[in-house]
């Protein structure tokens, strides 16, 4: 789910950092710029290393040195078809929301929850809805008690920054991963712990 990406960028090292060794100062500036930010390639997690540094010119009117740096970063970018284990975060009538700790915008929309299912108001938490999967005679609940929920990535989207938003809208998510739990082996891990294949010919 992580990739290395190579970038080239112009980095400005503020004058207060100029007493540090060059690589340390540039790394500090890079971290401030890229860490925790979502680029078009994904969520930047860590700076992997610096490949080359050029320049070091001081532009007129500015006390900072500007460098052209080629470096590599580790980005979180799952590929379509990847199976990832996540934790339950919340659910509403549109579907589930899962979290990976460092990334919290994984959504499983209602059509990708195994059918037949139903959504009922959560008896323990008044604001939330709870999804229940009905299979044969058994009912399986998806809620906070599931330790790990496996999902498969269907799509990654980067919604554009909204210009206007309603007052109580959710905080803007620059990167949204859509997942499915509608397949063998997906969904809460506890569902599949003690099970045997139904038939011998698998598709």
């Amino acid at each position: 789910m992580f990739c290395l990406s190579e970038l080239e960028d112009t980095v400005r090292v503020p004058p207060s950092d100029l007493n540090l060794p060059l690589e340390v100062a540039i790394k500090k500036a890079l971290q401030k710029l890229f860490l925790d930010k979502v680029l078009s390639i994904g969520l930047c997690v860590a700076i992997y290393g610096i490949k080359s540094i050029e320049g070091g010119f001081v532009l007129p009117g500015d006390g900072a040195a500007t460098y052209k740096v080629v470096f590599r970063i580790v980005v979180f970018r799952p590929f379509v078809g990847e199976v990832i284990a996540a934790k339950f975060k919340e659910s509403d009538s549109n579907g589930l929301r899962l979290t990976l700790g460092f990334f919290e915008d994984v959504y499983v929309p209602a059509p990708l929850i195994p059918t037949p299912n139903r959504c009922e108001p959560d008896p323990y938490n008044r604001n939330q809805m709870r999804w229940v999967w009905k299979y044969g005679d058994d009912e399986f609940i998806i809620d906070d008690s599931c330790q790990q929920i496996k999902f498969r990535v269907e799509n990654i989207s980067y919604p554009p920054v909204p210009t206007e938003r309603a007052e109580d809208a959710k905080p803007f998510a620059p990167m949204v991963v859509t997942g499915t739990i509608d397949d063998d082996g997906l969904g809460p891990v506890s569902w599949w712990e003690a099970c045997a294949p139904i038939s011998d010919d698998e598709d």
């Binding site: 990406s5 860490l35 930010k37 379509v80 934790k87 990976l100 460092f102 063998d184 599949w192 294949p197």
Partner: protein
């Protein structure tokens, strides 16, 4: 409905990604002459000029995919940055934001099978996998999730019947997983023990 698996291409040349990792120890991740740990060989021509969403920048030239990393490789990188050492949580030589982010990712990865893997294990495993003619993305999935039964393996394999992967082949893959990849840590119930788990007990 599944999207097509990306076209990963073949690994070119003798420069196996794991040889690159083996030749330089984890503590030297920052060296400039470090060869990329490309799990999948990248296409050199993929340089795109894009507008970065960061306000102060106009253009950032980039190569989007310089190599895919398994969870283990990222965990190894974080370990080399000192993420595992608990004392650094108090005395942080690095900035707060990188610190928090690294630790959050670290905590997540420690709960996946990656925390019990080593470089030799995953090299060995992916070498053995070629008997089953699996796509590289599937090998990556298997290394990251370590399926322990057919049902866990099912969402990873794409169109197994059309590719001639029958029940016997699936059992073969599972046996390989069982033999080569160590079992994942036991995830405690949330709210209880949050420290790293040592490997206790086998997978049943």
């Amino acid at each position: 409905m599944r999207g097509a698996l990306p076209n990963w291409g073949l690994t070119k040349g003798k420069g196996n990604w794991f040889h690159a990792l083996v030749s330089s120890p984890a503590s030297r991740h920052d060296q400039k002459n470090y060869i990329p740990t490309s799990f999948f060989d990248h296409h050199q021509k993929n340089i795109t000029y894009l507008f970065s969403p960061i306000k102060s920048h106009k253009t950032v030239r980039m190569k989007a995919n310089a190599g895919t990393l398994t969870n283990f490789e990222v965990l190894d990188l974080l370990n080399s940055r000192g993420a595992s050492n608990d004392t650094t949580r108090v005395i942080a030589p690095i900035s707060t934001s990188e610190y928090t982010r690294l630790h959050v990712v670290y905590d997540y990865l420690m709960e996946t099978p990656a925390c019990t893997q080593t470089l030799e294990i995953i090299t060995n495993f992916s070498d053995q996998c070629k008997y089953f003619k699996l796509a590289k993305a599937e090998i990556l999935n298997i290394i990251n999730t370590r399926p322990s039964s057919t049902v866990n393996l099912a969402p990873i394999l794409e169109e197994p019947s059309e590719r001639g992967i029958d029940k016997k082949a699936k059992e073969g893959i599972l046996k390989l997983v069982e033999a080569l990849l160590p079992p994942p840590p036991i995830v405690e119930a949330r709210g209880e023990n949050e420290e790293e788990e040592t490997e206790e007990g086998e997978q049943s």
